[in-house]
């Protein structure tokens, strides 16, 4: 009798999202979404941009109110209790952190004015327990040793990857039972992606549940137990992660082909290889470029060139100075030494807008669009340098200016179609999902009809389909318009497909350079950047 009494009731999942429906100001974004996550497991939520991944995480963590979002149906249960949405603008999320739900928002949202240490401290609730927060901090620094020497550095000075580490570290300070990660692998070098994956396997064993919303499903599937595929606000498929990865829907998320050529570049002549091949004309010439922030050297005597209609990729570990190269080219940063020339014109000392006028367009790691303008409006902004009519002419809407404007609009509509943005044409840019914003940014750069486009991690936050579309757009553009591209990119697949030459940076210095295929296969590059033991790579599954 005593033996049969304890009828084992099934353990409820740690997180149960039941039939959830969410809308932003009346526009439905999620409908009937059901997701279960057990203690000590990792769930991947994948799907294209705009599918509602971020919204799902917002609803679970309670920050929906910050985006004027509202739960209109269903419920979110955590540890057997229904989480009640309170009314005061999203502030309930703080209470949920104390109950053990921590959210890492996309794009490394740190407090830029606070130091790294202060950022971490701000993530530790129950601040009276000093020892506990010190222990949590030690664990975080153990996980991300790169943050150790940066304790007193303002977070605003960190590179994109370092910020991402800090944002994750800050969330871990509360020792969460449920960790929500929005695009955690975005902007991380392959080596760090592997470290983070390893860490997720460890916390999982410790009993923490993890939900990863990711575009790059390969990285998420590598650690996930279960996967949920979102499409247009509903769960299109769910199941064991390996099963999902194998099915049709998973095919879209597998990595692109790796370059197959194995020609080896000699690192000894990296400096020579950073110059354009002799038969081509250099469009961009960077010579002896150095950039220092106080004691920190971001770039150290970098010399490189980009030829006309050439696509050059800059790769390297996080904090290597990749974005700084772009920032120095368009003069957002003032280089400490060295010169940057575009077709013989010295750019150092010019203002960023003057550089743009000379024909250099760029996109950013974090999209920088005019939030309230629609997609076409944002593209028109890019054509500003091409417009001839003065303020008065446009204000009076003289016939000539009207004709000019319609020409510009036509060109923008072409770009909208080229990039497949038609669906979003009239939406304010600020409302679009991260990945879509990045495509719009590329569109703006195209609209400028620049001679050189600087792309900062163009594929970050994009699904493989969208990346594919982007890649085709870039190649098309080069084929038809002789545009040169200088890009910072982590996805080796995309680099291999697009770039003619690769430049590898580490600690602000040139490590290697040369034709793409050979350079990526270079054992030294593999070690510094890819974090794999040197040797032949198995061909990735298609």
């Amino acid at each position: 009798m005593s033996a049969s009494r304890s009828d084992p009731s099934p353990v409820p999942p740690l997180l149960l999202v039941r039939d959830l429906a969410v809308s932003y100001g009346g526009a439905p974004v999620l409908q009937g979404v059901t997701v279960e996550v057990d203690t000590g497991s990792v769930a991947a939520v994948v799907g294209a941009n705009g599918a509602g991944k971020t919204t799902l995480l917002r609803a679970i963590s309670g920050v929906l109110g910050f985006h004027r979002g509202r739960i209109v149906g269903g419920s979110v249960e955590f540890a057997g209790q229904v989480l009640r949405p309170s009314s005061n603008g999203g502030a309930e999320a703080a209470g949920r952190v104390r109950r053990g739900i921590a959210l890492v928002m996309e794009g490394g949202r740190v407090f830029p004015g606070l130091t790294v240490d202060e950022n971490l401290r701000s993530g530790a609730p129950g601040r009276r327990h000093r020892e506990r927060s010190d222990a949590a901090r030690a664990r975080v620094l153990d996980l991300f040793p790169a943050l150790v020497p940066l304790g007193h550095t303002p977070a605003g000075r960190l590179s994109g990857g370092e910020r991402q580490m800090l944002a994750i570290g800050r969330a871990l300070m509360s020792s969460p039972r449920l960790l929500l990660l929005d695009e955690p692998f975005l902007g991380l070098a392959p080596k760090l992606v592997e470290q983070l994956q390893e860490f997720l396997r460890t916390v999982k064993v410790g009993g923490t549940a993890v939900v990863i919303a990711e575009q790059s499903a390969e990285a998420a599937f590598a650690v996930a137990d279960r996967a949920f595929v979102l499409a247009e606000g509903t769960v299109a498929a769910s199941g064991r992660a390996p099963d999902i990865a194998r099915r049709d829907i998973g095919r879209l998320y597998l990595p692109g082909p790796r370059p197959s050529s194995t020609a080896t570049a000699s690192t000894a002549t990296a400096a020579d290889a950073a110059a354009v091949p002799q038969e081509r004309v250099a469009l961009l010439e960077v010579a002896g470029l150095s950039l220092r922030f106080g004691p920190v050297t971001a770039l150290d005597g970098l010399t490189m060139q980009v030829a006309e209609a050439e696509i050059v990729a800059v790769i390297g570990p996080n904090g290597a100075g990749k974005t700084s190269v772009l920032n120095c080219v368009n003069q957002l940063y003032r280089p400490s030494a060295g010169s940057v020339r575009l077709a013989g014109t010295e750019l150092t000392g010019l203002r960023p807008w003057e550089v743009a006028r000379l024909g250099i367009a760029r996109t950013f790691q974090q999209p920088a669009l005019v939030a309230h303008l629609d997609v076409v409006g944002n593209l028109l902004v890019g054509r500003h340098r091409l417009m001839t009519g003065g303020l008065l002419g446009h204000a009076l809407r003289l016939r000539r200016w009207r004709r000019e404007e319609s020409t510009h609009r036509c060109r923008c509509e072409e770009i909208v179609d080229l990039l497949g943005l038609g669906r979003f044409r009239g939406r304010p840019a600020g409302q679009l999902a991260h990945g879509i914003q990045k495509v719009v940014e590329l569109g703006r750069a195209l609209a400028m009809e620049a001679r050189l486009i600087l792309l900062d991690e163009p594929s970050a936050g994009m699904s493989p389909e969208e990346t594919d579309q982007l890649a085709r757009g870039i190649l098309d553009l080069r084929a038809h318009r002789d545009v040169a591209v200088l890009m910072v990119e982590h996805r080796v697949g995309l680099v291999g497909r697009l770039a003619d030459r690769v430049i590898v940076l580490d600690h602000g210095r040139l490590v290697a350079a040369g034709p793409t295929a050979g350079t990526l296969a270079d054992p030294e590059v593999e070690r510094v950047y890819l974090g794999r033991p040197a040797g032949p790579q198995p061909e990735a599954a298609r």
Partner: protein, 302 residues
């Protein structure tokens, strides 16, 4: 030369006070992006409370000031909790209108309790002054010394608080990114309440120091908050350091203009021009740096 030194000293002293008043705006603005038009009224309330505790009840001046700062801080806390907290998520404009309403209510309550006449706050230094360097030396008003010391102490305390205490760090985190702060488990409502309390307490100290010396208290004291407005804009509405520097600049310009311009310009123009000069400086600074000298120029790493 003696005149110049005297003017600079009292200019810096009054300027430090302007900075203190501006700090009250900055603290609330940084946390919630609300320009608190009721700040002058909290300052008025705190000053009258000091008068009440000291002159009416008979508590010694400094303890009375401390009590009044605490009481005004508590009033700030209550107002935030009862009125402002419910406005979270509403348009900022509506919230600002609400602070204007609050100002009217608080001013009316003060007049109802203490009347509109001029009272003495009963400060120990009054109108006393001393000379440095003999009879021909520099004349220093005791009230100016008190103003400098008090403003310096309060500003230093605030800076240390922000830098080293856990609550200070959460305040800065909230100022920087509210959503990320909430997602990090920071109770933003509590941070806002603390900011209102700090602003009201700091305002009390500023109000008492303004009313001490020759001026005395009357309900027009709340208008001083408006006089500190140029300091706020000069320094940048979201920068505590800017508030102090802006305040000192404003005080110096005002006092120097009042000291020298009447002799240089004819008649009525000379007699009144010093009230205009701070605004001329303000216009100049805004033309050159629209977000103030220390304001956050939307800094973002790209």
């Amino acid at each position: 030369m003696t005149k110049l030194v005297q003017l600079v000293f009292s200019g810096v002293a009054i300027g430090a006070l302007y900075g203190l008043v501006a700090l009250g705006f900055v603290v609330i603005y940084r946390a919630s992006h609300v320009v608190n038009f009721a700040h002058g009224s909290f300052l008025l309330l705190g000053t009258y409370l000091t008068y009440g505790f000291h002159q009416e009840i008979g508590i010694a001046f400094f303890p009375a000031l401390g009590l009044a700062a605490l009481a005004a801080g508590a009033a700030g806390l209550v107002v935030e909790r009862l009125a402002l907290r419910r406005m979270v998520g509403q348009p900022v404009f509506a919230v600002i209108m609400m602070t204007i309403g609050l100002a009217v209510v608080i001013d009316a309550l003060v007049v109802w309790k203490w009347g509109a006449g001029r009272l003495s706050v009963g400060d120990p230094w009054g109108v006393s002054a001393f000379r440095l360097g003999g009879d021909a030396g520099i004349r220093v008003a005791a009230v100016d010394v008190a103003r400098l010391v008090a403003a310096g102490a309060v500003l230093a305390a605030y800076a240390l608080f922000c830098r080293f205490t856990a609550l200070g760090i959460t305040m800065r985190a909230t100022a920087s990114d509210q959503e990320a702060a909430v997602a990090s488990g920071i109770d933003v409502g509590r941070v806002h309440a603390v900011c209102w309390a700090i602003a009201a307490a700091v305002g009390t100290v500023a109000g008492v120091l303004l009313a001490s010396g020759p001026r005395g208290i009357d309900p027009t004291l709340s208008a001083v908050a408006l006089a500190a407005f140029p300091a706020l804009v000069l320094g940048g509405v979201d920068s505590p350091a800017g508030a102090v520097v802006g305040g000192i600049m404003l005080g110096l310009v005002e006092v120097l203009a009042a000291g020298y311009l009447p002799g240089l310009l004819p008649g009525r123009l000379g007699a009144n021009v010093h009230t205009v000069v701070p605004y001329l400086v303000l216009l100049g600074v805004l033309l050159l740096r629209p977000s103030g000298m220390f304001g956050d120029r939307e800094q973002a790493r790209l």
